[in-house]
């Protein structure tokens, strides 16, 4: 019982309301208060990361103890896996909100922006720490509604069209998830993830179980923009203001999509052969088609958005390889390697894709365009942006010594060791196409001859934007340290252990 766990939801929620009330009377209160809130959350989440380790901490809302070993009431859980996700949410959130201090000067009504931003962070934190499946739905809707509003923040033609598409698809996803929750409750008569695992382990109807799994995979897959459900992502992520694009692509699709899929399919459902093959093939498909769609893009933010689909494919693919090995019941150490690679890539993607979207925002801020044809020669005028975006481009395409190299290496090595040679070759090919696409981005934006109409007037962006970008690029370098043996055992191993061990999560939570 740790009373600090609900703070992850309470503080940003309170921040959102305080910004709306006090921000009316005090000028610039909104920016600095939101920055402070996110900084505090980031510090707390790192403190939890280093103090949690292998432990599983539970907070029972209202102090409702289990009755006859059956959990009642709302549970909030912290374990090795979700503290990692909490860290990336709050860290990227802090850097994006610090970046917005000068970026959002171009927009009006800053109060609404920072308030919605805090609300979105509250929703994502809630999804990650929630221990029961209905609260996941509630917090997911909080973050989804605030992200609909934030995508439309510019209220121009493109933003409104993107947000309408996003809302209709997001709405369908929510109803599928709600249906899935209803079906689970019908049979299991409980909503707690750990308890559902225990109830279903005593026997279940195979067809019914598969139906629920497919419903939930479709719902959360739509939120995570896995391949057949990806249509909303490029529009929504490219129309939003840049700090929000960094949050959506860097964090939101992971926290409400990939994280929940991993959590449910490892800790709530028993891993089955059919589902693991399905998840692996969806991952491979979105990895390949995402990158193929990205090649032809000339709008920077659309290009980055398609790469998000492709990089999420890597995560889903490696997690799926781990599930396939577990379902065959052999070679658990390779499965652990594959899952660790997936989680490592999830963290890395948050760092470099957040950075790339901030770079795109800086280019848009300085040059006033997002079209690669109209840029060129920006390396001379914007050295900090050029250097940081070079770091991020090399990291996403998997060039050593940046973090993306190590996570892709682990994924490919795990695929080879598991004898899925085709998937390994596919991962290498996709990585090469990614490199080609980012070389195009670098060349046209920074190193070409300048052809734009207002090239002479371009200056480097203000300090808060430069600061966030430099910090993120340092993080991109530092994250490659996670592959070293001593550090890997303290950070990545607890996360894979909680997923791999079928009995640990339910037994730690219900206390049986």
């Amino acid at each position: 019982m740790n009373p600090l766990i609900p703070l992850f939801v309470i503080i940003p929620l309170a921040g959102a309301f305080l910004i709306m009330i006090i921000g009316r009377f005090i000028r610039d209160f909104d920016k600095y208060f939101a920055t402070l809130v996110l900084l505090f959350l980031a510090v707390v989440s790192f403190w939890f990361l280093f103090s949690t380790g292998e432990k599983v901490t539970v907070y029972k809302a209202g102090g409702w103890e289990p009755v006859n070993g059956v959990p009642v009431g709302i549970y909030m859980v912290l374990d090795g896996f979700n503290t990692l996700v909490l860290c990336i949410i709050n860290l990227i959130g802090f850097l994006s909100v610090f970046y917005s201090i000068s970026y959002m000067n171009r927009y009006t009504s800053g109060n609404y922006f920072y308030s919605l931003f805090c609300l979105m962070v509250a929703g994502m934190n809630g999804v990650v720490i929630s221990g029961d499946i209905f609260n996941i739905f509630v917090f997911l809707e909080i973050s989804a509604i605030s992200s609909y509003a934030l995508v439309a923040f510019g209220v121009e033609k493109n933003e409104l069209e993107a947000t309408f598409k996003y809302q209709v698809l997001g709405g369908i996803a929510s109803f599928m998830i709600l249906f899935g929750i209803g079906f689970i409750y019908w049979k299991a008569k409980t909503l707690n993830i750990a308890d559902i695992r225990i109830v279903f382990s005593t026997g279940y109807d195979r067809t019914y179980y598969l139906f629920v799994q497919i419903l939930l995979l479709a719902g959360f897959g739509l939120k995570a923009a896995i391949m057949p459900f990806h249509a909303w992502l490029p529009d929504a992520h490219s129309s939003a203001p840049s700090p929000i694009s960094a949050m959506l692509s860097g964090v939101l699709i992971k926290a409400v999509g990939i994280y929940v899929i991993i959590r449910l399919f490892f800790n709530m459902f028993a891993i089955s052969q059919a589902m693991s093959v399905l998840i692996t093939s969806l991952g491979a498909l979105s990895m390949l088609i995402g990158v193929l769609l990205a090649i032809g893009q000339w709008d920077i933010k659309r290009l980055l958005a398609y790469h998000s689909i492709s990089q999420m494919g890597y995560v889903v693919l490696s997690v799926g390889i781990g599930m396939m090995l577990i379902s065959k019941g052999m070679r658990n150490e390779i499965a652990a390697l594959a899952i660790a690679g997936g989680i490592f890539h999830l963290i890395n993607h948050a760092a470099f894709k957040g950075l790339l979207f901030l770079n795109a925002g800086a280019i848009e801020y300085a040059a006033g365009t997002r079209d690669l044809h109209e840029m060129g020669g920006l390396a001379r005028q914007m050295p900090a942006t050029a250097a940081t975006s070079f770091t991020a481009s090399m990291a996403i395409s998997g060039i050593p010594p940046f973090n993306g190299f190590f996570s892709k290496l682990i994924i490919i090595v795990a695929a080879v060791m598991a004898r899925y040679y085709l998937l390994a070759v596919l991962a290498v090919i996709v990585s090469i196409i990614t490199l080609a696409s980012f070389l195009k981005f670098q060349r046209y934006a920074f190193f070409n001859k300048s052809e734009g109409p207002n090239t002479g007037k371009i200056r480097e962006v203000p300090f808060p934007m430069v600061f966030s970008m430099i910090i993120l690029s340092i993080i991109c370098l530092l994250l490659s340290l996670l592959v070293l043996p001593g550090i890997r055992e303290t950070i990545l191993t607890p996360a894979t252990d909680i997923l791999m061990d079928p009995s640990k999560y339910p037994s730690q939570i219900t206390g049986i």
């Binding site: 121009e156 069209e161 709405g171 929510s174 209803g182 409750y185 659309r302």
Partner: protein, 112 residues
């Protein structure tokens, strides 16, 4: 069994509306139809044959009560549904001001 099938039919009606309608407002209405089919389903799974409202009556210990938890879930989900409907309607009004039409075929700035 029949109420469940009708509820599933309602879901499919909503989905059909979203796919085939061209008017933004009608798409929003179809979303609401889908939403209410899920609420109906949640309310149905909590119903127990011959049950009464779950207010415990100490005088009659053998009384059958319906399951109160899905009702709490439906209430929460209705509030969330209200927020999403309000949000999508606000967006539709803004789209009408910018584009001057509700026809989804004429709103196609974004592609590629």
């Amino acid at each position: 069994m029949i109420p469940y099938l009708m509820c599933f039919g309602l879901f499919l009606t909503g989905l059909y509306g979203i796919i085939t309608r061209r008017n933004l407002v009608k798409i929003a209405i179809s979303l609401s139809v889908m939403e209410f089919s899920t609420f109906l389903f949640l309310a149905l799974i909590g119903y127990i044959e011959g049950g009464t409202a779950p207010i415990v009556d100490p005088a009659d210990p053998v009384k059958v009560y319906v399951d109160p938890l899905p009702q709490a879930l439906v209430l929460t989900a209705i509030v969330i549904g209200l927020a999403t409907t309000a949000m999508i309607m606000a967006v539709i009004i803004r789209i009408y001001r910018k584009y001057g039409t509700f026809d989804i075929r004429e709103i196609k700035n974004l592609k590629g």
